[in-house]
């Protein structure tokens, strides 16, 4: 699991227990809830909506899912990490 996110939260002595608890509880409210505008939400939160949309797509078959996976690898995602990934 990517830990860059976690490090922001857990960090060092900068964030003693109570502050972390407070942030986690706040996150539970602002990130798991709230109004959602389906359709145009940036990539970072789109993951949540992708899952909704994805589920509709993926319920059909595992083969379809494999195709989706393959397609995404070939798609031009807006990041340089894709190009640098070895064995592609």
């Amino acid at each position: 699991m990517d830990s860059s996110f976690e490090q922001v939260i857990v960090g060092s002595d900068e964030f003693p227990g109570d502050a972390e608890l407070s942030l986690l509880e706040t996150l539970d409210h602002v990130l798991n809830r709230g109004l959602v505008i389906a359709g145009e939400i940036t990539i970072s939160v789109a993951d949540v909506d992708l899952i909704f949309v994805g589920l509709n797509v993926l319920v059909s078959s595992v083969e379809t899912a494999h195709e989706v996976l393959r397609e995404r690898q070939q798609q031009s995602l807006p990041t340089s990490e894709l190009a640098e990934r070895p064995g592609d």
Binding site: S4, F5, E6, N32
Partner: protein, 121 residues
């Protein structure tokens, strides 16, 4: 609605508990299952989709098990049918374990939150 210092709605939310560490541990699990929204690298997208697919299969597998047990209890299956059904489901469980292993996913990874519907498993 005037802004005033006595207005309780301007107060910062208080967070109260006698068991901070326990809750931190539990709430961390919640944030751990968030997909990595900051990075859009292909590995994490693939991982996310694999998780999704396997979660669905896991869900269906459990439904099938429950259904088989219900039929077994209902008495309308012969001993041979029960045995065959059980063996097939055993194999399915083993297969899924293998798949999870291939993607490096644990049971906790597959328990995604579907918002209003709750957790999948």
């Amino acid at each position: 609605m005037k802004q005033s210092p006595e207005n309780p709605r301007s107060a910062e939310p208080e967070i109260e508990t006698s068991h901070a560490e326990e809750f931190v541990e539990q709430l961390r699990c919640v944030t751990d299952t968030l997909p990595s929204r900051i990075n859009v690298d292909s590995h994490s997208v693939e991982q996310g989709l694999a998780k999704l697919v396997l979660t669905l299969i896991e869900f269906i597998r459990r439904l099938l098990e429950k259904q088989a047990i219900r039929r077994m209890e209902g008495g309308d299956l012969s001993p041979e049918q029960i045995e065959d059904l059980g063996l097939a489901l055993m194999k399915l469980e083993a297969k899924l374990l293998e798949l999870k292993g291939q993607f490096g996913l644990e049971d906790e990874d597959l328990n995604i939150d579907l918002g209003p519907v709750g957790r999948l498993i």
